[in-house]
């Protein structure tokens, strides 16, 4: 059959079409375990079914071969028992299989003339109508030949026939056809029992194999699960790099990942430095320009304004570029030392004002992220608080289930409610900020955005503004 024809047939086969539709609808399995199990669920039954099929076929074949051998033996014992007496055939009743003498035993024998005339038939067949036509054959094998056949109609039987020449005492050769007929039901029963046992065995083997495979998969994929777990630890900041103990297939991966992490860390550092240097190299000429514009007496309002704008833009974009660097690893660090550093700074910078800080932060309070980012956020918020306050600033930090809540309050004038939303608006461009407000809060909001952190402005217990920040834990 040409291939085209086969594919044509397959295409028109409704089962095939339905199976293909079903396969297209099924989602591709996303887990390696599921893939392997699915594959084995398909392959294993096919494999076991073909084993079962071959085994049952060969069992059947060996059954038939054994039967043939048995019939030959029957035939020879019959041949030995035949006696001619006045043209009449007599078979010694006490030879051969006892089943031949037992009525309806399932084993029958007959001796016939090639032309169809039955000369003798075993006592077992006498009451059975059916056997008579099967025992007598119109088309016997040729002389000296045997024939073995499986008959399914009108009833399942095995038939063995042999034509031989019988030499009488007169020296006359008489052709005789010996037929041995056996009811197949016994063989069938035997085969069925074998099959039942075979399928039972194969079925339980399939079950055991599937379970074993699931266990093996689980065990074999354990290192991958561990790797995933370690990676998640890494992401959460619970560890700085992957451990060195993996199976040798995964070891290069882990080593490469570690290398990548290390390189990424260094690269980030380098970016930051490069951006810092860029800021430095751009801002210094700007500073020169600004001095120049104050020195010259010509009308330079426009120049001043543009310099201020350039400065703001450079500052804003550079800080943003550094702050929102992606793939940040969330390392843990203590919050308190950071706050202490900032307070030392503000105590110097606001020397004349001498703001009083009240700090309610547990020394073990930890924060996750890039320390420089949080320093930037808190630096800007505290700077605003120092500017706004009369004397007192309160800083507190508490954990909730998902957040680290950092609250900064001052005793200044506060922020009117209608201005609060505007201050917190995201995606504002640097040059839309009013002078004085600076780029500080814009950067804060960008950093908070990149961490999915949140900032609220409200009124505090001290009478001034209250900035509450929720930083993801």
């Amino acid at each position: 059959m040409p291939i085209e024809r086969v594919t044509q047939l397959l295409k028109n086969n409704s089962w095939f079409v339905r199976a293909r539709e079903l396969a297209q609808k099924l989602p591709a399995p996303n887990s390696i375990t599921r893939r392997l199990l699915l594959a084995s669920v398909i392959v294993l039954p096919l494999y076991l079914a073909s084993i079962g099929w071959f085994l049952s076929r060969s069992f059947e074949a060996s059954q038939l071969a054994a039967a043939l051998e048995r019939y030959r033996v029957q035939f020879y014992s019959l041949l030995g028992a035949v006696e001619f007496d006045n043209e009449e055939i007599k078979v010694n009743a006490h030879t051969g299989d006892p089943r031949l003498r037992q009525l309806n035993s399932g084993l029958y024998a007959a001796i016939q003339h090639p032309q169809g005339e039955v000369l003798w038939q075993s006592p077992s067949s006498e009451a059975v109508e059916l056997t008579r036509e099967l025992l007598a054959s119109d088309d016997p094998p040729l002389a000296g030949q045997e024939r073995f056949e499986v008959i399914s109609r009108p009833a399942p039987f095995l038939r063995f026939q042999y034509q031989t020449m019988w030499e009488t005492e007169d020296g006359e050769d008489i052709p005789l056809v010996f037929t041995v007929l056996e009811d197949q039901s016994a063989l069938r029963t035997e085969l069925r029992a074998f099959m039942r046992q075979l399928w039972l065995g194969l079925g339980s083997a399939a079950l055991l194999l599937t379970i074993a495979q699931a266990v093996i998969l689980r065990w074999g994929l354990q290192p991958l699960r561990k790797l995933a777990h370690d990676l998640s630890d890494l992401e959460q900041g619970r560890r700085a790099e992957l451990p060195e103990r993996y199976p040798e297939e995964l070891q290069p991966l882990a080593a490469n990942l570690n290398q990548l992490l290390d390189r990424e860390q260094k690269q980030r550092e380098r970016y930051r430095n490069t951006l810092g240097d860029l800021a430095h190299s751009l801002k210094t000429p700007l500073a020169v320009l600004r001095q120049q514009s104050t020195v010259t007496t010509t009308d330079n309002a426009l120049l001043n304004e543009q310099i201020a704008r350039m400065d703001q833009l450079i500052g804003y974009q550079l800080q943003r570029a550094v702050a929102s660097s992606p793939h940040r690893l969330r390392q843990k660090f203590l919050l308190r030392p950071l706050i202490d550093k900032l307070i030392a700074t503000f105590t110097k910078v606001y020397f004349d004002k001498q703001p009083q800080f009240r700090i309610a932060i547990d020394p073990t309070c930890e924060c996750r992220g890039d320390e420089a980012d949080l320093l930037e956020v808190l630096g800007n918020l505290l700077d605003n608080a120092c500017k706004a306050c009369r004397q007192h600033i309160a800083i507190s930090a508490n954990y909730s289930e998902r957040w680290l809540l950092i609250v900064i309050e001052d005793d200044g004038a506060g922020i009117p409610e209608h201005l609060r939303a505007g201050i917190l608006q995201r995606g504002q461009r640097a040059d839309t900020y009013q002078p004085g407000q600076g780029i500080g809060l814009a950067v804060v909001i960008d950093i908070l955005d990149s961490y999915a952190a949140e900032l609220d402005i409200g009124s505090g217990a001290l009478g001034g503004a209250r900035f509450s920040m929720r930083w993801p834990r």
Partner: protein, 229 residues
Amino acid sequence: MRLLLVEDEAPLREQLAQHLQHNGYAVDSAADGREALYLVGEFSYDLAVIDLGLPIVDGITVIRKIREQQKRFPILVLTARGRWQDKVEGLEAGGDDYVVKPFHIEEVLARLNALLRRSGGFASPLLQFDKLIIDTAKQEVRVDDRAIELTAFEYKALLYLTHRHGQVISKTELTEHLYDQDFDRDSNVIEVFIGRLRKKLDPDHTLNPINTVRGRGYRFELKSSADAD
């Protein structure tokens, strides 16, 4: 007031030096950290302006080394990066205040004023010595509510004397802290200069703010009436 200016960008350094001199400071400039540290070892300064991004030895290290040498003059940190990390590092190392580039020169001058006042131990920008009042914020001097016209240089000299009131200050020290390095150190010039200052502050000889201690130098005699702490 002798000031050390450390900035690697020549145009900015020269501009700043010019402005500072114009405002009465004696300015020594350094272009890198090593030169700055050399100058700090050689001369006595009242103030320093130090950029963080310096070649050879960076600004943070310069500040740290200055503080390691137990030198306590105020340091104003210049930073281009503007990140809080840089500001905090600069102040942690021993800086006293910061200005982010690009800046207005007025801001730098105001910060320097405040730093000087603080280092003199005055908490308020208004210094009062008997009838003499110095407003360090506006850089104004009044005696008996009468405004005294002083040059920037004279103002800095008065400030230096008041910051060390009660102490004898030699002519050499005064020269060192008021004039640039290449100034011709003739003591007569200082005498003439102090005489002119006396005449402006105390034309009718009722206050006697500056006394001459024979053979040793000068002493600012008036007591701080408000808030010397």
